[in-house]
């Protein structure tokens, strides 16, 4: 395993794609900070530095989808996966080393964003609004969802020997997950009731009647399922993390556990299938 990780990390450090995504992550952080600074000036308010600190989580799925499919897919397209097997490495070890390499790369993208966000925030804004514990707990969710994303995309990339196919499937999956979570989030945040105002002839509010139920508000089992999907999907977790900051932070212990379940499910199935796979 160490040999594969050592060779893999040296390959990652030389990878133009890795450098590009890292640079884009850092640049996105600067963009977000400037945006927040503009809001502060416009509304004449002070926003905490930890606002927008995890905004990168929303896009980390897309970044990992691109990186995993190209990084793992190159081993197939250049045929270099054969060198690993002929060198005596077991398939389980090859699979796990790829998972570790992609996960660490994903964390590096987030780290690049956070560092850039921190430095730019320190210059443009102020210190964190609350204690470091919240930041660390939020980071834990971020790390676990990054590994969960990696598990999903390494699974796809390891089972499709065609690099282009795996890149398309990974990207499509990441977008579908993201848009699904956005839709779920929108549904869940819909108000249960609309205010029912009573107006006079001039259009002024003169009183309130019983609130009107929102027909689009998901209720009962449907709401339970949507809540579960929002918590289980890494994209749903990412949206939740990106919107959290200290003032309204409440740590969801279930989220890292859901990520763990995804990691175990996809990696276990992936290893079982990869061990039986006929390679060319």
């Amino acid at each position: 395993m160490n040999k594969l990780l050592s060779s893999g990390f040296s390959r990652i450090l030389k990878s133009k794609l890795f450098r590009l995504i890292t640079a884009l992550s850092a640049a996105y952080a600067v963009f977000m900070r400037v945006n927040i600074r503009n809001q502060e000036e416009y509304y004449a308010i002070k926003l905490p530095i930890d606002m927008g600190f995890f905004a990168m989580a929303v896009f980390i799925g897309i970044a990992i989808a691109v990186f995993a499919s190209i990084f793992v897919g190159t081993d197939y397209s250049d045929g270099t996966i054969r060198n690993k097997i002929t060198a005596g490495h077991k398939r389980t070890v090859i699979y796990l080393s790829n998972l570790i390499l992609v996960s660490v790369s994903g964390m590096a993208f987030i780290l690049a964003y956070c560092l850039s966000s921190f430095v730019t925030g320190a210059i443009l804004q102020r210190w964190f609004s609350d204690d470091v514990l919240h930041l660390l707990l939020n980071s834990l969710i971020c790390i676990s969802l990054t590994i969960a994303y990696s598990a999903i995309f390494v699974f796809i990339a390891m089972l499709f020997q065609n690099r282009t196919s795996s890149a398309v499937i990974c990207l499509l999956t990441s977008f579908i997950m993201l848009f699904a979570s956005m839709s779920i989030s929108q549904l869940l945040s819909a108000p249960e009731y609309y205010d029912n105002f009573i107006y006079d002839v001039n259009g002024d509010i003169v009183g309130y009647d019983d609130p009107i139920p929102n027909p689009d508000y998901p209720r009962g089992l449907k709401r339970e399922l949507l809540l579960a999907a929002n918590d289980v999907l890494p994209s749903g977790q990412a949206l939740q993390v990106s919107q959290m900051y200290s003032d309204e932070f409440e740590f969801e212990y279930r989220l890292p556990l859901y990520s763990l379940a995804i990691i175990v499910l996809f990696t276990g199935t992936g290893i079982a299938l990869f061990r039986k796979k006929d390679l060319k």
Partner: protein, 312 residues
């Protein structure tokens, strides 16, 4: 091959089935230590499938193989593969890396403690002056040689090459041949080379295995093949019917090649034959000695097997 011969690789009734297609059908072969084993067969005969199985890229449907005496079902077969190198179909190299980077990468995969020997490897395959040139800008021959250099990392005892001269220009073919011979002689590396370019293979191989439809039709050493290939004299005459009549009369074995040519086997008394032909008004237009080539041997072998199969 005598019973004391040490084998690097043996296969026993190896089968590989893809859905309804049998790529290997009970293949048994023996690659002696130090040999250059030419694995001969047409496209789709099962050559690459066998190599994939040996390299651990695929699992056999049934049957087994041994690598340095270790059975394929053994857990230590992975460790055994460290003693072999392979170039399967296309060279396994990162195209966005230089030759040096590719070798360093392979050294890391193998867990070699230092990069000692890389410059010698580059020199051995003639890529010492490629410097910062990426492998994607290499010619096919250079990529093939880099693939071999990568396979040579870790000093393997067995090198498996799948169609190593496919697509190479004449100069590249000569360089590849010289490299294989050098590695076999200087480093005592055993080679398993699959090819359907028989003429080239005949310049290298010390042993042959002929495969057809996933089955090993014949396994033979180059020496045995040489004695099995019969010498003949090819005659071009003005009248084939007269030639046939004279040869039949002299009790000499022959085979008709065209309406004016025939191969005459055995020791031919040239003076007596030409005198007889001349007496019956048949002119000898040309005459030259002809060895039965590896190609003829292969065609006869595979054709013979097919005829036998169709007669059954």
């Amino acid at each position: 091959m005598n019973s004391k011969t040490e084998f690097v690789l043996t296969t026993d009734a190896l089968c590989k089935q893809y859905k309804h297609f049998k790529a290997l059908n009970g293949l048994s072969m023996h690659v002696p230590k130090g040999a250059i084993y030419g694995f001969v067969g047409k496209n789709g005969a099962g050559k690459t499938t066998l190599i994939r199985l040996i390299c651990g890229l695929q699992e056999p449907t049934s049957g087994s193989y041994t690598l340095y005496g270790v059975p394929s079902q053994s857990k230590s077969i992975s460790d055994c593969r460290k003693r072999m190198g392979a170039v399967v179909e296309t060279p396994s190299i990162y195209l966005d890396m230089t030759a040096l980077e590719n070798l360093r990468h392979q050294y890391r995969i193998l867990g070699m403690p230092t990069y000692d020997g890389i410059s010698e490897l580059l020199k051995l395959v003639g890529l010492e002056n490629t410097e910062k040139k990426k492998a994607k800008n290499f010619s096919l021959g250079m990529r093939q040689r880099l693939g071999i250099a990568v396979a040579l990392c870790g000093n393997p005892d067995l090198l498996v090459l799948d169609e190593p001269i496919n697509g190479l220009d004449p100069q590249g073919i000569i360089e590849m041949r010289e490299l294989i011979l050098k590695l076999n002689r200087q480093r005592a590396i055993t080679f398993l080379i699959s090819s359907h370019i028989l003429d080239e293979l005949s310049k290298l191989a010390t042993h042959y295995g002929f495969i057809d439809s996933g089955y090993l039709v014949k396994e033979i050493s180059a020496q045995e093949l040489e004695s099995a290939c019969r010498k003949c004299v090819r005659l071009k005459v003005s009248s084939l019917s007269v030639l046939c009549r004279v040869l039949d009369g002299m009790g000499i074995e022959y085979s008709v090649i065209s309406d004016s040519e025939a191969d005459v086997y055995g020791n031919v008394g040239v003076t007596a034959l030409i005198t007889s032909l001349a007496s019956q008004g048949c002119d000898v237009i040309s005459m030259h000695e002809n060895d039965e080539s590896l190609e003829n041997y292969y065609v006869n072998l595979v054709g013979g097997k097919k005829e036998a199969a169709s007669n059954e």
